[in-house]
């Protein structure tokens, strides 16, 4: 009996996983698949192969002059609806690679009633509102990474993406079906962000001036903006650092300025900063976080420098120090190209490409594993500590109902229960521990321990109170003290109720931890974001992460089911420990 139902649980799990895998497939090959092509070269090389694969998938519609394919005609029912699709694929393919496809919009004025996507924390919205008529705050949608904006653009959730020249170029190169409007919105200059009135600002400016003059910046710009990825490596950080270590906050989502190759923070912005730090006698330690949190990192003193594509503006200068520019670019508008809605890649080769990019390239599977490790670390540790804390809460409340401890626990519960978890997390990280250098993982564990403790505490408390008061009276009347009555009589009965609930809560905890990216912890979700920003692929990594979460949660839920079963009284001959019956 028991085995049968366990096996059924596993079967259901597998079935769900298969369903999700199917979703991945559909998600990756449906309309948004234009995101798949990585570069023009690759596309051309794979063109023939892709067409074949597609034909197989569509039931053997023969390609012109392809004799091998005609053999399969009798097996597959040629679907009429697919005919034009195949034809279109064949004709659109050459044009897709030329880059001369007309754009949906050619001028910023055409975007008046449209949605414009931009990075959270960037100042492009102010730029447009100030310089162009007919836009309002409602015209903008804000995202946490360029990959997200690209995804939104491709799925028509926004109609334009405003970003800096280098990113715009890379994005258009790596995704099909989008192009850059010819005219920049404005010229733009990037600088590093430091704490207001920092001593370092002048020193950095001095070095920047030197590197401008001797051509170093030009050399670096050429290196990082070139198409040749193999040259884009960072030098080792092996210089002496007599003046100590600078903490540099950066988001690894803006190729080619600041991004990650493997797990090494790389890019023009970072290499230049490392050169300067070496000159000044400082070592560098990176903290990675969301683009939107970078300035907060500096203001709260968690980092000395924020290094990313920060435009130099007067508004920013009032809040923080900004160095002289290290890069002069422009603000560009990226929009969709007209027509061109069909994928030019086959179903399976597209999937395989996405898989390779997401997991294999640059050993990203290691990144995913480490993210998974962080997720599990936070969940397991705060789950375990939380249950202990919850039990402590229960014991405190048991001391005296309505007493001080009871009221405190109640207050904590209502406080934690009345705030979004992400807000609590950020308050702890940036406010409560703002001035202490404490790893984000520790803060995350602390916050989730408190949350888990408060909810598991009330689960236990309710289960304990649900045990009939007569049980306590019977224990006391036999002559057991308060504690013995609790541990021998009440707790075992309450545990039957609350243990399965607590275990199930662990699944919730795993999912809840997915927000720790907000405080610069690289968990599974955050790693997925990073990979998306590297591959510039909007969908596959997201769904891959979803599948991993799903698998983990189902696995835990299955284990919980097993544990709950063990708690039930056993069938078969009954025994009493230490007694010969």
């Amino acid at each position: 009996m028991a085995f049968a139902s366990q096996a059924r649980g596993l079967k259901v799990t597998i079935l769900f996983a298969l369903l999700l895998a199917l979703l991945v497939a559909v998600g990756s090959t449906g309309f948004p698949t234009r995101a798949l092509a990585e570069s023009a070269d690759e596309q051309t090389a794979e063109g023939g192969e892709a067409t074949e694969a597609e034909q197989e998938a569509e039931g053997g519609e023969p390609a012109e002059g392809d004799e091998a394919a005609t053999d399969e005609e009798s097996e597959g029912e040629p679907a009429n609806a697919d005919e034009p699709t195949a034809g279109q694929t064949a004709t659109t393919q050459p044009t897709a690679t030329t880059g001369a496809t007309p754009l949906e919009y050619n001028n910023i004025d055409e975007l008046r009633d449209k949605k414009i996507g931009m990075l959270n924390g960037a100042v492009f919205d102010q730029l447009i509102l100030k310089n162009f008529e007919g836009f309002s705050q409602k015209s903008f949608k804000y995202f946490n990474s360029n990959a997200e904006i690209t995804g939104a653009l491709l799925t028509e959730k926004v109609d334009a993406m405003i970003t800096d020249l280098p990113i715009a170029q890379l994005t258009v190169n790596k995704n099909e079906g989008i192009g850059i409007m010819p005219d920049p919105l404005m010229e733009d200059h990037y600088g590093y962000v430091l704490e207001k009135d920092s001593d370092l600002t002048a020193q950095i400016n001095e070095r920047l001036a030197v590197y401008h003059d001797d051509g170093t910046i030009d050399r670096l710009t050429q290196k990082w903006l070139s198409a040749d990825d193999s040259a884009k490596t960072m030098p080792d950080m092996d210089w002496d650092a007599p003046n100590g270590t600078l903490t540099v906050a950066t988001s690894l989502d803006s190729e080619p300025m600041n991004y990650a190759v493997g797990d090494r923070p790389s890019g023009l912005c970072l290499e230049l900063l490392e050169l300067i730090a070496r000159d000044l006698g400082y070592g560098i330690e990176y903290r990675t976080t969301n683009a939107g949190s970078l300035i907060a990192e500096v203001q709260s003193g968690k980092a000395e420098i924020a290094a990313a594509s920060f435009s130099i503006t007067d508004e920013r200068k009032q809040q923080v120090d900004m160095t002289d520019p290290f890069y002069d670019g422009g603000v560009m508008v990226v929009v969709r190209t007209k027509g061109n809605t069909e994928s030019d890649q086959g179903f399976f080769s597209g999937l395989a490409n996405s898989f390779r990019r997401t997991f294999v390239e640059e050993d990203r599977w290691q990144l995913i594993l480490s993210g998974l490790g962080v997720t599990l670390l936070i969940s397991v540790v705060s789950g375990a500590l939380g249950h202990v804390l919850g039990f402590v809460f229960v014991m405190l409340r048991r001391k005296k109902e309505g007493g001080l401890a009871d009221k405190l626990v109640h207050l904590l519960e209502s406080l934690l229960g009345g705030l979004p978890v992400v807000v609590i997390l950020m308050v702890f990280y940036y406010v409560l521990f703002g001035s202490i250098n404490i790893p984000g993982v520790i803060v995350a564990i602390l916050v989730f321990t408190l949350l888990c403790g408060s909810s598991s505490g009330s689960i236990m408390w309710n289960a304990i109170r649900a045990v009939d008061v007569g049980q306590t009276e019977a224990g006391r009347a036999l002559g057991f003290g308060d504690r013995d009555t609790f541990t021998l009589v009440v707790l075992p009965q309450a545990a039957r109720q609350f243990v399965p609930l607590l275990l199930a809560q662990f699944v919730t905890l795993i999912k809840d931890t997915s927000i720790v990216g907000y405080i610069a912890v690289q968990d599974l979700t955050r790693v997925g974001d990073l990979i998306r920003s590297r591959t510039m692929e909007a969908f596959f990594p997201l769904i891959a992460i979803a599948v991993i979460y799903f698998a983990i949660c189902r696995l835990v839920a299955w284990l919980v089911g097993l544990a709950a079963k063990r708690l039930e009284p056993k069938e078969g001959p009954r025994t009493i420990k230490g007694v010969e019956l």
Binding site: G475, G479, F480, L488, R496, R574
Partner: protein, 368 residues
């Protein structure tokens, strides 16, 4: 010397004062039944004795120890007095044997095997030796209560407190619990029993406490309380008169409904079985074998018979009145019922009741 002494015991709750001023003593080996109307502090009194309730004021001396002394070792005192609850309160997560073993192993330092053997011995005493390895939820109410008694006995208490031990039981399970309790009473254990079972109070207890409105009105041997109560309150409670009324307005009446109603009344009034059987037989004989046939012979479609059965003395006596005045209108005499010695009805009636009188068409008799 008294094993329990209670002086000026008072217990107040925020809205109600169940105990006003209770004074009592219990000698070792006594079996005390505490009777009285519902909600008059009987259970509160019992729960104060082992301090499940904390008295507002007064003194409770158990075995020479003041239970209200802040320094008293309550746990140790409670081990001397077991308690049996209305709702059994068996530990649902433990086997029956484990329920009984828990106290001796954890509190008396008894070995597991020894405790198990003890539990089997006690279970045998209450007739449940084969249920040692069952969970409480697998037992009937009566069986649960017997296990609870065994659990109390396992601590070898000097005193056993019973808080309405049969009130939550179906009628057929009451007797199995009462017989176990009677057995204990006969073995000299000091027992205090809050109960509504008048028969148990009468037959098994050495003294009866009558409690009402927060006070102990009268304490005395069952013969005194049940036959010659000294206080008006006790008299009213013991001799509360209850009546069963029924009328037959058609010769084709609903006989089963009438007998079912009568039986329910007898059960509710805790009428002794002998008396209840007598009443039922008498009414059935007189009605079915005489009254209804007579009414039919005389063409009396609506016989208009009225029955009134009243119970007194805690179920030891019943008075029956049968009003058949309409029979006189058609010239049928009631005398025939008792007069004809060779008739079965007549013999039966005289066998069950001794004092039958017939006056103005009304038959009166006493049963018991």
């Amino acid at each position: 010397m008294s094993i329990i002494e209670v002086r000026h015991l008072r217990k107040e709750f925020p809205n109600v004062t169940p105990l006003k001023d209770v004074n009592a003593y219990v000698d070792a080996g006594e079996v005390i039944s505490i009777i009285g109307p519902s909600g008059t502090g009987k259970s509160t009194f019992l729960r104060c004795l082992n301090r499940l309730e904390t008295p507002t004021s007064g003194e409770i001396i158990v075995d020479g120890q003041d239970m209200c002394d802040p320094n008293v070792d309550l746990d140790a005192m409670r081990r001397k007095m077991g308690m049996v609850f209305q709702n059994f309160n068996l530990f649902d997560h433990l086997l029956v044997a484990e329920n009984i073993m828990l106290g001796p192993t954890r509190l008396l330092g008894m070995g597991t095997q020894e405790a198990y053997d003890l539990s089997l011995k006690l279970l045998a005493q209450v007739g449940l030796k084969d249920k040692a390895l069952n969970y409480p939820r697998e037992l009937s109410g009566g069986q649960k209560q017997r296990v609870a008694i065994a659990r109390g006995l396992a601590m070898s208490p000097k005193i056993l407190l019973f808080d309405e031990p049969t009130s939550a039981l179906d009628p057929q399970m009451v007797s199995e619990v009462l017989s176990v309790m009677k057995d204990l009473a006969a073995r000299g254990l000091t027992m205090l029993v809050v109960t509504h079972e008048m028969r148990f109070a009468r037959e098994a207890s050495s003294r009866v406490f009558y409690m009402d409105r927060g006070e102990l009105w009268e304490a005395g041997p069952p013969a005194q309380i049940f036959e010659h109560p000294q206080r008006q309150e006790t008299y009213d409670f013991i001799f509360r008169v209850r009546t069963w009324n029924w009328s037959i307005g058609d010769v084709d009446y609903d006989f089963p409904a009438m007998m079912a109603s009568l039986e329910a009344f007898c059960n509710r009034q805790l009428l002794e079985r002998r008396i209840a059987n007598g009443c039922q037989m008498l009414i059935e004989e007189v009605t079915e074998n005489y009254l209804i046939p007579t009414a039919r012979t005389h063409g009396l479609a609506d016989p208009g018979i009225e029955y009134a059965l009243s119970v007194s003395e805690g179920g030891a006596r019943a008075n029956l009145e049968i009003d058949c005045r309409r029979f006189a209108q058609v010239g049928a005499g009631l005398q025939d019922v008792v007069a004809q010695e060779d008739e079965i009805s007549g013999m039966l009636v005289r066998g069950i009741t001794s004092d039958v009188s017939i006056e103005d068409g009304i038959l009166r008799c006493t049963i018991g």
